[in-house]
Each structure stands twice: as C-alpha cells, then as structure tokens.
Symmetry: D2
Subunit: 185 residues, 4 copies
Amino acid sequence: MKIAVVYHSGYGHTAEQAKAVARGAQSVSGAEVTMIPVAEDIAWDAIDAADAVIFGAPTYMGSASAPFKKFMDESSKRWMERKWANKIAGGFTNSASQSGDKLNTLVSMAIFAAQHGMIWVGVDLLPGNNNSKGSVEDLNRLGSSLGAMAQSNADEGPDKGPIASDLKTAEHLGKRVAETAARFK
Amino acid sequence: MKIAVVYHSGYGHTAEQAKAVARGAQSVSGAEVTMIPVAEDIAWDAIDAADAVIFGAPTYMGSASAPFKKFMDESSKRWMERKWANKIAGGFTNSASQSGDKLNTLVSMAIFAAQHGMIWVGVDLLPGNNNSKGSVEDLNRLGSSLGAMAQSNADEGPDKGPIASDLKTAEHLGKRVAETAARFK
Amino acid sequence: MKIAVVYHSGYGHTAEQAKAVARGAQSVSGAEVTMIPVAEDIAWDAIDAADAVIFGAPTYMGSASAPFKKFMDESSKRWMERKWANKIAGGFTNSASQSGDKLNTLVSMAIFAAQHGMIWVGVDLLPGNNNSKGSVEDLNRLGSSLGAMAQSNADEGPDKGPIASDLKTAEHLGKRVAETAARFK
Amino acid sequence: MKIAVVYHSGYGHTAEQAKAVARGAQSVSGAEVTMIPVAEDIAWDAIDAADAVIFGAPTYMGSASAPFKKFMDESSKRWMERKWANKIAGGFTNSASQSGDKLNTLVSMAIFAAQHGMIWVGVDLLPGNNNSKGSVEDLNRLGSSLGAMAQSNADEGPDKGPIASDLKTAEHLGKRVAETAARFK
C-alpha cells in the first residue's frame, strides 16, 4: 500500500508536520510512504501510483501557499484523465495564528480532492484544549476536523514548532489515512 | 448494506433530488435505502445503523436550511460518542440560482461529516455544460465536485424541477456513495 | 447612527461576546446600539432601521447555530426587497475549540450579508499569540480576520469565558463597525 | 478616486471580465482606473495608492489560479504594515463550469481582503436566470453575491466568452465598488 505525502513548506515548519504525517502513515502495516515536496521536480508518477495522497501546505494570506497552488493547478491533466479517482485523500496545514484562516486551506484541499474524485478522510478526533483541564499539549489542541492543523510561532524555527501535540495530531492523521486506505484496498 | 438519505425539503424540490439519490443508491446490489426527512421525528436509530449517510438540504440565504441545521445541531450527542465515525458520507443541495452559494452548503456538510469522523465521497464527475457543445441536459451540468447540485426555478413546483440532468447527477451520487460503502465494508 | 447586534447564544457565552461588541459600538460618538436576540420575537424593524448590523452566533457542529440559521432564513423577504442593501455588516462567533470550524460560521455570515447587499467589515487586527512572546491575553489571540472569534471552555459558564482578550477583540469589532458606519454615513 | 483592478488571466477570459469591471468603475464620476495584471511586474505603488482594489482570477482546480495566489502571498509585507487597511475591496472570477467551485475563489478573496483590513463589497444583485422566464442573458445569471462570477466555455476563446450578461454583471460590480469608494471617501 502506497502513501504519498505531497507538501510545500516555506520555512521548515510544515515540513516537520509532513514528516509527522509520514511517520503516522508508516506505522501502519504494509504502508510504503513517499515524501513529495512540490518545490522540487514533482514526482508525478509516485502520486499516480499511490493508494492514498495526503496534501500539506502552510496557510499564507488565508489559503494554501502559492507553490502548493501551482502544484494543484498543474494536476489538471490528471484531473481530466481521472487518474486519481477513488484514491484516499487527507490534508494538513500550519500557520502562526492559533486559528487564523487555516480552515480555508483545508476546505480548498478537500474541494481539490473532490475534483479529482478522491475520497476525503479527516482527523476523527474530538477537540483538545477546549475545557478547563485542557492544555496546548492535548491531541488536536486546535480542534480541527477536516484535516490536521498545526501552529508555529512566527519568530521561531522548525526546531521549536510545530509543538509536540501538533506533530502527534499530524501523526494521527497519517495513520488514519493509511488505515483507511488499507481497509479500502 | 444500509444507506440513509437524511434530508430537508422546503417546497418539494430537494425531496425529488433526495428520491433520485435514493434510487441511485438502491441500484447497487445489496443496498437497503432509508429516507429520513428531518422535518419529522428523526429516525436516529436508522442513521446510527447505516453504513453510509447522504445529507441533503436546500440552500437558503447562502447555507443549509434551518430545519437541516437543527438536525445537525441535534446530532452533537452522537458526535461526542463518535457513533458515526467511519461511516461513508456524501451531500446534495438544491436552490433556484444556477450557482448561487450552493457550494457553501456542501462545504458545511463536508465539515459536519468530518466532525463526526465520517469519510466524504463527492460526485466524481467532470463538469457538464462547460463547452460549446454542452447543454443543460448534461450530467453534472452545474460542474460540482464536493457533492451534487441541483437547480429548480423559483416559480415552478417540484413537478418541473430539478430537471432530469440534475436528478441523474443525484442518482449518480447515490450510486457512488453506495458503491464506496460496499467496497469499504 | 443605529447599530443592531443580532445574535443567538445557547449557554450565555456568545451573549457575553455580543455585549462586548455592543460596548465597543456604543463607545463611538453618536452610536445608538440595540441588542436583538434571535431566540425571542425578532425586532425586525430595529434591524431595518439600523445603519450597521453585527451578526453573532455560536459555532455548533461546524456552522452557525440553528436558531441563528432560522433568523437568516426568515430574513429572505427583506432580501427580496433589498431592505438591508448598503448597510454595514460584521460578524462574530464563539465555540469551545481554539480554532475548530469557527471560520466556516464567519464565511457563512459574510456570504449572507453579501446576499443582502451589505458591506462587510472585518476585525482589522494583526494576529495575537502567534509568537514566542505572545499569550492568550493578546488581542485577537485566535488570529481571525473576517470577524471576531472567541473561545470558551466547554465545562465553564459565561462567567469564566470568553476570556478578557476575546471580549476586547469583540469590543474592537463593535467599535470598528460603528466607526465605519459613521464614516459611510 | 483611484480604483485598481488586480487580476490574473490564463487564456484571456478573465482579462475580458477585468476590462468589464474596469469599464463599470470608470463610469463613476471622478474614478481613475488602473489595470494591474499580476503576471507582469506588479505595480505595487498603484495598489497602495488606490481607494479601492478589485481582485480577479480564474478558478483553477477549485480556487484562485497560482499566479494570483503568488500575488496574494507577496502582499504579506503590506499586510504587516496595514497599508491596505480600510480600502474598499471586491472580487470576480471566471471558469468553464456554470457553478463549479467559483464560490471558493471568492471566499478566499474576501478572507484575503479581511486580512488586509479592507472593506468588502459584493454585487448587490438578485439572482438572474432562476425562474421559468429567465435566460442566460439575465444580469447575474449565475446568482452570485459575494463577488462577480462569469462562465466561459472551455473550447472557446475570449472573443466568445464570458458572454454579454456576465460582462454586464462584472461592469455592475466595478461600478458598485467605485460608488462605494466614492461614498466612503
């Protein structure tokens, strides 16, 4: 079972989140995970061959970063040919704001996946840090459902953020997408 | 394999769309389809027992109609208990505008399904009526991906709208959700 | 200059946020603020007479609460008559999650306002709590732009949440909408 | 009063829509309109100097085209400096689908404008072509509110599409944004 993690990272934070997603996917028996950064020559064949594809990008100015959008636009030939139909899909995003407009990035990814005829899998986690006993160390501390959200401070590098809870949430998404792909296959 | 079509219809147009979705689902071998109108006492047990749930509502003032939203809110106990996790889900909407804000209704349904841990299936159809040889009789004539869209004239009853192409698109969605549920099961 | 704050509150948290919005609006010279809870008989005339309308609702299951949606649907006669065209509008929402799907509620409110021909004013604040020196006490600590977001713990009453920073952010929105209405008038 | 029309066009259809928006804006007394294509060196100073900015892009794969997204991302320095705060803003988009995911592009533009502290103006038109006497020649034939939508056939050049009604709708948006900017100034 092949899982592709297709992502863009501007400063390294989203790359850390992507690695966590990959770790989670890899933890599922039989999973073979490929990291596909869109800033380089895109490994289209690896995406075409995947059973599941997990999309990731930072949220810049309210939506997925331009390099990731370029990848989305360039996938239109595959869209026309329905090459990715029925693959399992998921998404993740990172930004400096706690909430900000991260949801808009995830919505655009889910719409994009639907255009390709893909099947969308969210995080399937109740929200964390939403009660008096909660903390930023809770799994799904930002309370996202459609995909995995992470937050990284604007003045700190990827060695400091996303924090452990966000990476665990990303791992959870990777594992869940891989498990769903296994079940579906 | 059990499929629930959970819907609200204000004037009967969305009910026609719901029936078409149900016909499509029913066409899949082994499918047992239940229609669940939210305006009546909601058959929660039937939803809980379903392998797949297809949500439908008219788009009123830019989002799903209030009676459907009431159903969404009332599902929160089940959300807390993760009762619907891993069910297959899909959505459809009707309004008088050709595009209007129907997409916002489908987005809200997909987010709602993700909150419940459901797995979202779109229409998987290229857009119709998007070229010089196209017509309103094309399948997916409105070009939607996340769910099925239909358009019904504001001054005509459900005997006239949604038109045949929109009903066929709805049937396609029902069939696709049922097939995906079968494969997933 | 008349400002209407039209809101629903399920457990009192959004009502606190609404009061803060009203305080902010009231702080502008010449402003006359009316609170209009949608759970009671709606004061439609007061909305019709307003120069600006600020919409508020909790985010339940990914979008504005059903009672607020009911208000939205019931405004359709006014939509048809273009009664609210060119009024200034803004929006706010509260939920237990830090981010959750609050953005979807604000998007639906902005679309709703656009249907009415209203002019949409956001918070106009850089994000708070997005760097190593930030804290939950920062103004706009959730980093929202389209409208004001607040977070209240699921296990605490409106005496504890939204916290002070969220109420100040709500005040800021109220003030900004009123100032914009004054300038526009 | 200065109006900037900032747009990307892949094949010329959105450029036609942009010209129509500009014509509408220019028709308002005192308006001075500048066309700013983002594919070339961006005239940032002209945007900074504008009283109103109207954003336009084709919808590709469910959201604004990558070249337009690049412009959005590159505006982040101005966002930080709040250079565009309180400018009037509006948006438009074109794609081959009748509805498709055009709304998602407009939502992302409205969120983007809100990040900049801009004030959003929609089309303020009831939907056209939504009843038995309607036709594709109606103003606002696609029934959009948040911004202007246009549809152009995938197999025809910009000499054929967007059709006249969509261009008139675009003109209407340009005029409305300029009138609002005049009133606000």
